[in-house]
């Protein structure tokens, strides 16, 4: 059982984001860390492989400047190896361009199952999982709260507006997972040491057989026209609770005729 987990390495969300004034895209030159959304995919993959008693987890990531720090975190959790795609030509890639790159890289790993987050914590496009599945020619299930492998199929609880659906899908398949359903394990000291020598296969777009025109700025199919401050909301009254603040709330709600 070969599980590939797509992981993104992003600027720390605790730091305020910044746009590069020349390109109006997110600056990615600070320290990059493993996107928390992907830690759930890594954990689910490790649990699937643990439960089956065989198999391994391969990470695939597209990142600038041959960044590996986020990969080492996931390797320390227990993934076996990583494929990192890094190439200056990839700057400015949109979601589809990213999916094309990931698809080529994943093709090298021949997975039974590909896991991704539903969306990244910095881009939030949420379209890469399906774009990826289409490019790989695979079936897919998005918004998985829970995954099980049984009878040669992947069985998923898929989040819906009304609750959830039980969905079955033949393998190989792409499954995107929601946050919060499993507790990502903390890497142990042993895991961290082992991660240092796990293989990270670094490739550029040439190695993947991709043309520069299909990715990065050239391939993005979009152009930023303007970036401007949005109108902001003014703050109202602020009071300190001295034991009776709840009455202020009730008065406020009364005035709005909500009670």
């Amino acid at each position: 059982m070969n599980v590939v987990v797509c992981v993104k390495q992003i600027p720390d969300p605790a730091e305020p984001g910044e746009l590069d004034p020349d390109t109006n895209t997110l600056k990615r030159d600070t320290k990059l860390i493993l996107d928390e959304s992907d830690s759930y995919g890594v954990e689910m993959a490790l649990q699937l492989v643990d439960n089956l008693g065989e198999g391994e987890v391969t990470l695939v990531s597209m990142a600038p400047n041959n960044e590996t720090s986020g990969l080492r975190t996931a390797l320390a959790m227990g993934a076996a190896r990583a494929i990192l795609v890094s190439d200056d030509a990839l700057a400015g890639s949109d979601a589809l361009g990213t999916a094309k790159v990931l698809a080529k890289a994943i093709g090298r790993a021949e997975p039974d199952l590909v896991l991704t987050a539903t969306e990244s914590s910095d881009g939030y496009t949420g379209t890469v999982p399906e774009q990826l599945a289409e490019l790989l020619g695979l079936p897919s299930v998005t918004f998985a709260k829970e995954i099980e492998i049984a009878d040669g199929k992947v069985k998923v609880q898929r989040q819906t507006e009304m609750g959830y659906d039980e969905v079955e899908c033949p393998m190989p398949a792409v499954v995107s997972v929601t946050a919060g359903v499993v507790e990502p394990r903390y890497p142990s000291f042993k895991g961290i040491m082992a991660a240092k020598s796990k293989p990270v296969d670094e490739v550029g777009i040439g190695d993947l057989g991709l043309d520069g025109s299909a990715v990065g700025w050239a391939g993005a199919g979009q152009q930023i026209v303007e970036v401007a401050a949005a109108p902001s909301r003014e703050a109202g009254e602020i009071v300190e609770d001295e034991g009776d603040a709840h009455e202020k709330i009730i008065q406020f709600l009364d005035e709005l005729k909500v009670l």
Partner: protein, 323 residues
């Protein structure tokens, strides 16, 4: 300066068209001369009235999908129509579970970018421009599509107000769904509807939301109790959803639901920008937090600097006494 034709991906449940579909249809008819819908389900005839009343003249339907997830079949049918020469200028999708699936699949099939998280769309000459809020909604990015159409855009809920145009029922046209080949196969075996008392989170007039300031999972009960008292929907910040205190369906924020209630009560929520994006459109915001520097106080109409564990129980008790 109008586009010639816009397609809107339509969704419905039990014969009721999703509010986001009606919102997008309303915008679509301001952008284009002709608006048509795409709909997967056995009941296109039942929804054609509402779709038409909001401006659609036609609804292409795949019919019943036999349990298949919508992404592959709807995108395949759209792609087939487009490749057959029937291409619109723009295709709009709601940012929903299935909306993203269809848009993602179609984007890859057509080799066209899809612009996401949009709160507005403008047409300037030949260009279609989308507006996306970033950095917690403090900044708007305007982006245009380059290259040829059809252009694909995902729209956030509550970006537009739904308004009827007075149109008659849309004409229903059944389309064939091409063979999915290796991409087909994901099938719904059973649907589970979560029992929910009270209003739906993204439709409720009042929302009571809790965050990490509540301390631990047990304390969330205060939020549920207050919500019940106010006939409100309970909500949550991403932090407590990720911590497993409440399900993802409770999440308000950039990666959760966008809500615009009359009153939003934020208890123990600091106001991280990704949360603000989901609720700062609320008409009135009440915040309770012990940190006077909490960003939530920058958007609240009534801010209470205090301990939620003191304020909320008193609030609940006082409301109880009122009967």
């Amino acid at each position: 300066m109008a586009l010639s034709r816009v397609w809107v991906y339509a969704q419905a449940a039990d014969g009721d068209v999703a509010p986001i579909t009606l919102e997008i249809l309303t915008k679509a008819r301001a952008l284009a001369d002709t608006v048509e819908c795409w709909y997967a389900g056995a009941d296109a005839d039942a929804v054609a009235g509402a779709l038409g009343a909001h401006g659609a003249t036609k609804v292409y339907t795949t019919g019943d999908l036999g349990g298949a997830l919508q992404g592959v079949p709807v995108a395949s049918a759209m792609a087939a129509a487009i490749e057959g020469g029937d291409a619109p200028d723009l295709i709009m999708f709601g940012t929903t579970y299935d909306g993203r699936d269809v848009a993602g699949r179609l984007s890859a099939k057509l080799d066209r970018t899809v612009l996401t998280n949009n709160v507005d769309i403008d047409v300037e000459g030949d260009s279609v421009i989308t507006v996306e809020p970033v950095f917690g909604g403090t900044t708007n990015v305007r982006t245009t599509f380059s290259g040829e159409g059809p252009f694909l855009a995902l729209v956030r809920p509550k970006s537009f107000a739904a308004e009827e145009s007075g149109g008659g029922a849309a004409e229903v046209v059944t389309v064939d769904v091409p063979d999915a080949g290796s991409t087909g196969g994901a099938t719904i075996i059973e649907r589970h509807v979560e029992e929910r008392e009270g209003p739906q989170l993204d439709e409720a007039a009042v929302v009571v939301a809790g965050g990490r300031g509540l301390g631990d999972a047990d304390k969330y009960e205060m939020v549920e109790t207050l919500a019940k008292q106010l006939g409100a929907a309970p909500g949550a910040s991403r932090a407590i959803v990720d911590a497993g205190w409440v399900p993802y369906s409770y999440q308000v924020g950039q990666t959760g639901k966008v809500v615009k209630p009359t009153v939003y009560i934020a208890a123990g929520i600091s106001g991280a920008t990704q949360h603000l994006v989901g609720m700062k459109g609320s008409a009135n915001i009440v915040a309770i937090n012990k940190d006077p520097e909490a960003p939530i106080f920058g958007v609240s109409d009534l801010g209470i600097v205090g301990d939620v564990h003191k304020v909320m129980p008193k609030l609940i008790e006082a409301l109880q006494a009122r009967g």
